[in-house]
């Protein structure tokens, strides 16, 4: 029983550490990855037939 408790604790510690380090890695990796963010202000949706004059594709 004691051994199972010890293994459970060990697993929990590994999971916590793993999750923290994984989130940290993701956070810093994502630092240079563009996420489609907040909805912008001041725009309008127009028909699909309109001429486009935008910049590059994502």
């Amino acid at each position: 029983m004691k051994r199972i408790d010890f293994l459970k604790t060990l697993a929990a510690v590994f999971l916590a550490l793993g999750s923290w380090s994984w989130r940290t890695i993701l956070r810093y990796n994502n630092a240079s990855v563009v996420q489609p963010g907040k909805e912008a202000m001041f725009y309008r949706v127009i028909g699909s037939g309109e001429k486009k004059n935008g910049g590059s594709r994502l």
Binding site: A31, S32, V34, A40, M41, F42, Y43, S48, G55
Partner: protein, 326 residues
């Protein structure tokens, strides 16, 4: 994918974007029939600067301005002095998460009396600027916009409610210069300057003098006359020295004489506060009383050596010195 086109209305370019396309500024895009900002809460630069670096010489001299920028710009000036961050898409440059609350918190912690939206072009990170400015105002921190002023009237009027001061680049005085060198147009910038003034935002102007492109004395004269007539003689004007950068590495730095000549033209036109930036000149950064000509604020580079303005007035002749002094 629904394939509808959205039109950005933040700046006079008014880009029309198909699904997945992004605007000329590279930081606003059409995602599922919605315009989204790609840089909200993701500054590529954050720094504590002396307010003199903005430059804003008539706003809280010697105070700190917590300064932020994100990648992108809606202009593409060939002489851009910050092109590494302004002329790249956000994914090409490292940025870290910093929410509007985080910006204000860091400004408070660093004893900054203002937050400057600067370096690249805050019009392209409008939502981030606006949200941060609202929070900053609650904490009595000033909001400073350092911009090319290429913005549509409606978003400008909303932003002006939270702005205290702005330094706007008036890059030249001819449409030709704006079209050929900046890939923009002059008229919207002039209109925006007038609107800033009407909205009660303290305005200072920067003009970067680029050899052979906008350094003709007749053009400098025209620029000064426009400022004098439309914005008034008390609008501070900063002539800034160009250094070879970006797509204009073939040009030399602005000669010292050209900057001094420009300052003389501005003074002859009647502009009361004229400064020279990016160049170490004795007196070039000093503020003098336009009435009694005594030295009021002595500056060396970005540092204020002496500030004698008291309650917004000259201590010698009691002339009002316009600006935000306390």
């Amino acid at each position: 994918m629904s394939g509808r086109v959205v039109q950005c209305l933040i700046c006079p370019k008014e880009c029309k974007l198909a699904e997945g396309q992004r605007g000329d500024c590279r930081s606003r895009a059409n995602f599922g029939d919605k315009m989204v900002t790609l840089v909200f809460g993701a500054p590529c630069s954050s720094h504590i600067d002396p307010i003199e670096k903005k430059p804003l010489y008539h706003v809280l001299p010697a105070s700190r301005a917590f300064s932020i920028a994100t990648a992108g710009c809606n202009l593409h000036c060939k002489f851009c002095q910050n092109w590494e961050i302004s002329q790249v898409p956000p994914e090409d440059i490292r940025h870290l998460p910093l929410s509007p609350e985080g910006v204000v918190k860091q400004a408070v912690m660093s004893h900054s009396r203002s937050i400057a939206y600067t370096y690249s072009e805050p019009v392209t990170f409008y939502e981030y600027t606006l949200e941060t400015a609202k929070l900053a105002r609650r904490k009595k921190i000033l909001n400073l916009l350092i911009s090319a002023g290429y913005i549509n009237p409606e978003p400008q009027d909303v932003l002006c409610q939270y702005l205290d001061a702005a330094n706007i680049d008036l890059k030249g005085i001819t449409e030709k210069f704006y079209r050929e060198v900046c890939f923009a147009t002059l008229k919207p910038v002039q209109d925006a300057l007038i609107r800033f003034k009407k909205n009660g935002v303290w305005v200072e102007i920067t003009n970067l003098i680029v050899p052979t492109l906008n350094d003709e004395p007749k053009d400098i004269k025209l620029l000064c006359e426009w400022i004098f007539n439309e914005l008034g003689p008390d609008t501070p004007l900063h002539f800034s020295r160009f250094y070879p950068m970006y797509r204009l590495k073939n040009l030399p730095p602005t000669p010292r004489g050209a900057l001094i000549a420009a300052r003389d033209i501005a003074r002859e036109t009647g502009i009361n506060y004229v400064y020279i930036g990016n160049l170490d000149t004795p007196e070039g950064s000093n503020t003098y009383c336009p009435k009694c000509r005594r030295l009021l604020v002595e500056r060396r580079g970005y540092w204020v050596v002496r500030n004698q303005v008291r309650d917004g007035r000259c201590p010698f002749c009691r002339e009002t010195i316009p600006g935000i002094w306390s």
